[in-house]
């Protein structure tokens, strides 16, 4: 890629940072060029975010119909699955899966609630009072 062909399409790092792109100058020598971003990357990043949003929406539907607890919403929002969440909470996965259900969620003690809130970077109140829109 030539230096003047390095794309400068505003992307997700807009206003925060530019990224290094390797390209050749007019003498054919490699240099590092700072790039604002590239449209194809914007497209694929958007797709990745659609997927995350979709799993949040799915979680919210389940919560509304009484099939899931607020933990599922925040798990999805934090791009986690039960395995990763269990890793963070330091509990076996089967226990975390119980907490994803309204019945298991009600049984959580203060300490456990605090753990979940901490991992999700929210307050216990936010976790307990979460209502999907």
């Amino acid at each position: 890629m030539e230096k003047d062909k390095v794309p400068q399409d505003e992307g997700i790092t807009e206003g925060i940072s530019r990224e290094v792109q390797y390209a050749v100058d007019k003498d054919g020598k490699y240099i590092k060029v700072l790039s604002k971003g590239w449209e194809p990357k914007n497209i694929v990043n958007e797709l990745a975010w659609e997927d995350i949003q979709e799993s949040v929406d799915l979680a919210d539907e389940k919560i509304k119909s009484g099939k899931a607890s607020p933990v599922m919403h925040f798990m999805a929002k934090n791009q986690m699955n039960a395995t990763l969440l269990a890793d963070y909470i330091e509990l076996p996965k089967w226990k975390v899966k119980r907490h994803l259900k309204p019945k298991g969620f009600k049984k959580l003690n203060q300490n456990q609630l605090e753990n979940y809130a901490k991992v999700f970077s929210i307050s216990i109140d936010e976790l307990l009072n979460f209502k999907p829109e």
Binding site: V20, K32, V44, N45, A48, Q79, M80
Partner: protein, 334 residues
């Protein structure tokens, strides 16, 4: 306390960190040189490793390997420590080393790095950055994929060092403890090139090297039918992100390798490496075309199988190009 440390933006985090750590100790080696010597060029398709539920395609070897190999080949001794389930000790040890006026390389998760834009932050744990000082509760951070140096609080850094999930860093930190007075680059370069060529050409498993690219091409062709248009688009999008996103210098490290070959031409006083650098640039350009076509194909999640066939064909072409390239490169180092 803030060390006199140059923040140098780089294409890739791991090489960027090593390159700037060495520079602090008076050894000037570019990111591209470290990348080439450490055999950073690769292709692997690993359906058994999933990121966001999608099989992983990688354009580099496992994290940490480039750095270990480069250090070994250059005769540089690094101190490496991990602290399984001991976050406090990991932070104390970091402080101790900083007090000795040594900048420290850190493996970190990306998800907890507050200075990244939200859209950058996903659960990827093989990121690297340098800590080069501490003041009150905050650490001075040089993250090579960022344009400017930045800071993290104690809690943020601790969280990032103990991110969970695949490739969790377990507080890993590293820094050079001895650097030879004189370094002969030639044997290190030759070892680096030889291993890359062998990996790309001869690993007897169809998931790695040029065989891996051909294997993945076959899968890509079947994605729309097998996964449905929606999921297929997600798979393809992740492939493009692996190629272009978060520090590859563009085209899945192919351009960094071309830059490396130009430096090799100078060290070896051999213009044939410049010719091969040009060839590598063309390969990189084809990967860029691949990314561009793939983005078009997944945009709107269309189910048009032609899009997938076109990019699968392009992958086969690239696999042939990379194969021919490494056969030629291997001949040069004999």
């Amino acid at each position: 306390m803030k060390l006199d440390f140059d923040h140098i933006p780089a294409g890739h985090c791991e090489n960027g960190v090593i390159s700037s750590l060495l520079k602090y100790h008076g050894l000037n080696l570019s990111e591209a040189m470290i990348f080439g010597i450490g055999s950073g060029y690769f292709f692997a398709y690993m359906p058994f490793v999933k990121v966001n539920g999608i099989p992983l395609a990688s354009f580099r070897p496992v994290p940490g390997m480039i750095f270990t190999k480069a250090a070994k080949r250059l005769g540089i001794k690094m101190k490496k420590q991990t602290f399984r389930k001991q976050p406090k000790r990991a932070m104390d040890e970091l402080d101790k080393v900083l007090e000795k006026k040594l900048p420290v390389g850190i493996q970190s998760g990306v998800y907890h790095l507050s200075y990244f834009p939200p859209a950058y932050r996903f659960h990827f744990n093989a990121h690297n950055l340098t800590v080069y000082g501490k003041e009150d509760n905050s650490y001075f951070i040089s993250d090579p994929v960022m344009e400017y140096a930045t800071t993290l609080t104690y809690e943020e850094l601790k969280k990032a060092r103990f991110a969970k999930g695949p490739l969790s860093p377990n507080g890993k930190m590293y820094y050079p403890i001895s650097i030879p007075e004189e370094i002969d680059l030639k044997p290190a370069i030759i070892k680096g090139i030889k291993q890359t060529a062998d990996w790309m050409l001869t690993i007897p498993v169809p998931l790695f090297g040029v065989k891996g690219i051909r294997y993945l091409s076959k899968r890509v062709r079947k994605w729309p039918e097998k996964l449905g248009p929606k999921r297929a688009a997600s798979y393809l999008a992740q492939l493009v992100r692996m190629l272009e996103e978060i520090g590859t210098g563009g085209a899945g490290f192919r351009f960094i390798y071309a830059a490396f070959l130009q430096e090799v031409a100078e060290v070896m006083q051999d213009d044939r490496y410049n010719e091969l650098s040009k060839e590598m640039t063309k390969i990189g350009d084809k990967w860029r075309t691949f990314s561009s076509l793939s983005a078009k194909t997944c945009k709107g999640r269309s189910s048009d199988p032609d899009g997938y066939n076109t990019i699968a064909n392009l992958m086969l072409e690239i696999a042939d190009d990379e194969e021919n390239f490494f056969i030629k490169l291997k001949k040069l180092i004999k």
